[in-house]
């Protein structure tokens, strides 16, 4: 299957701090990749580099045919193909749930208001929040807000979805409802990269798990590798997680 994402030998520093030290991996179409690792291992930075939210120092990143490392990159074109969901939801507080979702299709794709509204209702139904269309974000729970954020990304019909620790701010019950939505997406064939601390979820849903350590891809394998770590560092990381 063709790769939707391909990182080769990516380096990234913030000042003197080297965060990515030659990261390489591929994500095939329809694949669900879970990136795990301790805080500071570079996993969120890698994800942000894929979406050109950070500029890399060297190496190559190709995402859905866009050369992300190219200084001439058309960022808006890249972002039409890639959706991202953040840990802190980042919904627009002054807009209703439906307006949050309609904003990008109307602004970026010049979609009419009525059509955008239909689309909003459709994606909201997908995340189980059809009845919340006219509520404001602050009227929703954290889990509901995160599901709206996912719906907002889905409305742009991306080819790839990135999830940056999307359940880290949620309690276990709310985490469950968000993970269920992500599981549905994965089953629907969406290519996904998720940076996560949810080991059980990674094991169950991910077709590939990438363990990052000290800015490098330390160990890669199917979800089952979490039951049988090959490196001392992964074993240690997993034991800390318990």
């Amino acid at each position: 299957m063709p790769a939707v994402v391909s990182l080769s030998n990516v380096h990234k520093s913030f000042g003197a701090l080297q965060v990515l030290k030659g990261v390489s991996f591929d994500v095939a179409a329809g694949e669900v990749v879970a990136v795990i690792g301790a805080s500071g291992s570079g996993k969120s930075t890698a994800l942000r580099c894929i979406n050109a939210l950070e500029t890399i120092d060297s190496g190559e990143i190709v995402v859905c045919g866009h050369k992300v490392h190219d200084p001439e990159l058309d960022r808006r074109a890249l972002r039409r193909d890639v959706g991202i969901v953040f840990q802190s939801y980042n919904l627009f507080p002054h807009l209703t749930v439906a307006q949050n979702i309609m904003l990008a299709p109307t602004c970026v794709k010049d979609m009419g208001k009525a059509e955008a509204r239909r689309l909003a209702e459709e994606v909201l139904a997908k995340v189980g929040l059809a009845e919340k269309a006219d509520n404001y974000p602050e009227q929703l729970s954290g889990g509901q807000q995160q599901r709206v954020a996912i719906a907002r990304s889905l409305a742009m019909q991306p080819k790839l979805m990135l999830f940056d620790e999307v359940t880290s701010a949620l309690d276990p019950q709310l985490t469950g409802e968000v993970l269920r939505v992500m599981e549905d997406l994965a089953r629907g064939g969406m290519s996904m990269i998720l940076v996560t601390h949810e080991m059980a979820f990674a094991r169950k849903v991910a077709s590939k798990v990438i363990f990052m350590h000290q800015g490098k891809v330390w160990e890669t394998g199917p979800g089952a590798m979490l039951a049988n770590p090959q490196t001392k560092e992964l074993a240690e990381f997993l034991s800390n997680d318990l």
Partner: protein
Amino acid sequence: MTYQFDFSALLPYWPLFLEGVWLTLKLSALATIFGFVVGTLCAVARAEGPRWLKTVVAIYVEMIRNTPLLVQIFLVYFGFASLGLKVTANTAAVAALVVNVGAYTCEIVRAGLESIHKSQLEAAECLGLTRTQTYWHVIVRPAIERVYPALTSQYVLLMLASSITSQISAEELTAVANRIQSDTFRSFETYIVTGVLYIILSFVVRLAFTLFALVIFPRRRKLGTAI
């Protein structure tokens, strides 16, 4: 106390007082609208513009904030005249008030723009919005909502400060009061009435801003949170 109050002498002047109130409202409304536009553009320029523009705006704001309003009014009024431009006192008054309130609005809106978290920009950027779209939909609107109470106070102050334009004979409430007291020789009563009218005007302006907020900030209306 030997002073005998006589408000009856002012009774025939009611229409004139009302006209003064109307003129003050008109003057303030014009200055508020144009001042808001100037101030908001300056705030955006100061946040996003090239370095030279940021410097120009900074100099403008500092000049206005560190000089008296009356001097600014004289500068605009006599400045126009010296340049050979014939403008009425009222036009000069509006221009001076716009220049003045624009600078204060710039600082207030700038505070609002800076209060919008970077993550909001990132979210908009990741959805593919252009910088201008992001500014309009995601930054300016919530920023204005946050600083709306400060803006309201500023524009009420502007309405009160517009009385100073009577110094260049702009037609507004204080100028009308000056005329009435010189006709009636009841200075104390005239200014008591004028003061009361300004208090009423302040309430009316505040009420207008509160009602306007309900229209432009639907979230406040729906959630019932006061602005």
